[in-house]
């Protein structure tokens, strides 16, 4: 349980999440991979918290979690709406904001 391995894991998670975000086309996966990136970041934050024994960091991790959850809720709702209107929810569908 070395600290290095923890950082390695969080880095891997983050990289995986980013890769997922860019590879997959549909919105759901992109949203999930962003969740994973967030989890990786959380892990890193937590390891620092433990190393520095700081309660504040701990509190922040907690809050980040809760906020992430809220965010997912809204995102899911949005995706659902997209799905309802346009059957499929890939990136293409939401590119109306094109320049």
């Amino acid at each position: 349980m070395s600290v290095f391995s923890l950082f390695l894991l969080s880095a891997l998670l983050f990289a995986g999440g980013m890769a997922g975000f860019f590879i997959r086309r549909d919105l759901v996966t992109m949203l999930l991979s962003s969740e994973i990136m967030l989890a990786g970041a959380n892990l890193a934050l937590l390891t620092f918290a433990t190393m520095r024994n700081s309660i504040e960091a701990d509190a922040i991790v907690l809050i980040v979690l809760t906020v992430a959850a809220a965010e997912v809720a809204v995102a899911l709702a949005a995706i659902a709406v997209v799905v309802r209107r346009k059957e499929e929810a890939t990136e293409r569908t939401v590119s109306e904001m094109k320049g």
């Binding site: 980013m18 860019f22 939401v94 109306e96 094109k98 320049g99």
Partner: protein, 609 residues
Amino acid sequence: MRELFWLIPLFPAFGAAFLILFGRVISRKLVSWLAPSLVGLSFLFSLLSYIQLNGVWVKELFSWIKVGNLSIPFALQFDPLSSIMAVTVSGVSFLIHIYSIGYMANDWGYNRYFAYLNLFTFSMLLLVLSANLPLMFIGWEGVGLCSYLLIGFWFEKDAAADAGKKAFIVNRIGDFGFLLGIFLLFTLFGNLSFNYINSHVSAVSPGIATAAALLLFVGATGKSAQLPLYIWLPDAMEGPTPVSALIHAATMVTAGVYMVSRLFPLYQHSGFALELVAWVGIITAIFAATIALAQNDIKRVLAYSTISQIGYMFAGVGVGAVAAGMFHLFTHAFFKSLLFLCAGAVIHGVGTNDMRKMGGLRKAMPVTFWTFLIAALTISGIPGFSAFFSKDEILKEAYLSGHKWIWAIGVITAGLTAFYIFRLIFMTFYGEYRGEGHPHEAPKVMLIPMSILALFSIIGGWFPKSFAHYLSPLGYIKVIEASHSLEIYLLGASLILAIIGIYIAWLVYVKRKGKGWNFGFVYRVIYGKYYVDELYNFLFVTPYRKGSELINRYFDKGVIDRTVEGSGEAALGGGNLLSKLQTGLLKDYGLWMATGIIIGLFLAIRSLL
């Protein structure tokens, strides 16, 4: 009269202003009384001042321009030289005003015509009486303006409008040189009044004096229609004939001669300039005389004859004989305007300028014929008439002052003059009438001034010696007494040539009815006026027009406008380019963000490494 001489130019000025302002409302009768009487008044005043003149009168009215070290007073000067000019100008102008009453009787622009004529007289008198160069320049351009207005008087005729514009622009080119001359003189002397320049001329090196003199001479050639810038005078015949008589015979064209004689010390000091003046004068004389040989328009013949006679005057002044030059100017004013007035009477009667449609007018227009004959005899230098004394005076001076070649050319030109003037007489007054309609004698109001002028052109020349003495107070007038025998020899030479000229004219135009004389190519070249107009157009006018058009279409619109609009479009283009980034795809935005973060991290960490 010493105090009132400055009124001389103001009478016609008042006349012009009054006619311009109220021209439309006052009746013709009033105009035909007002205009000539005002000019008559100024003639009277100049005559009186001429009589009472002793020394040099200068009157400063007010200071015109005063900036820094430049101060130009509005000052008039009355001295022997300008007195002669004032008298001739106002006298001839007065007679021509009366003549015009008849000539322009049924023209709708009657009032406007007299307004311009008065304005012209004012400008000419101002030119003649001014005491410094810039004031003379006002008169100088003023006469240019009036000649523009009067040549283009019948502006509905495109030829007249073009001729007027051409006259003004060619004059303007001359004035460009004149203006530069004024600037150079100011940088040299710091003061532009004639007396100051004439008295301080030795302080300046001959080289610069030559430059200044020549620049002023460019102006003179423009105004007096000498060689390079003469092209406007023949076209100026589009204007009414009394205008040609006044402006293009008696007064305006002599302005150049007056200017050179006024600044004679400057020319004398520069030496080379004086030579050039002489040579330009004499070459123009013979050049114009040759062209006059083959012209068929009565007024154009007289126009070229004017150019040639003025060439004589310049030659006279050029060889140092200012008195002779001025004397010829004095006599020329009378007989040349008489020639023009007679031509006017002929045109008035026959209705066309073309001599080929005239002939045999002796019986129909006796008075005109006799006055015309007097004038013709005068100009060809027949003894007893005024021109004989003045022209031969010039030739004598030329011969004596060592300019043998100038004398020779002068004598030949005298012969040519005799030929073309009598060619004109024989074609118009002898043989049978070739035109339609029936020519009638001019009305009395035109004949009176013509006969007065005829009288003047006879008696005008009888006192050459006193003329030179009258001018002597100016200081630079030299009077040479030639040995008697030499004088007879010189007079004889020019007389013989004149008579030969007349005889040939008689031979060709009366005996063989004018058919035999066409030497093919030579005739055509002379008739085409050596194609100088076409040359000038080709060299200057068309390239300027074409060049500007090209520049306008390609450079002005093309290059500059494009750069301006180009910068506008570049901004638009840039904007479009950037908007391509907005793909709307989340992935791209994520990518930009990721790269941004990575670069940021890298930069931050780099400082740590």
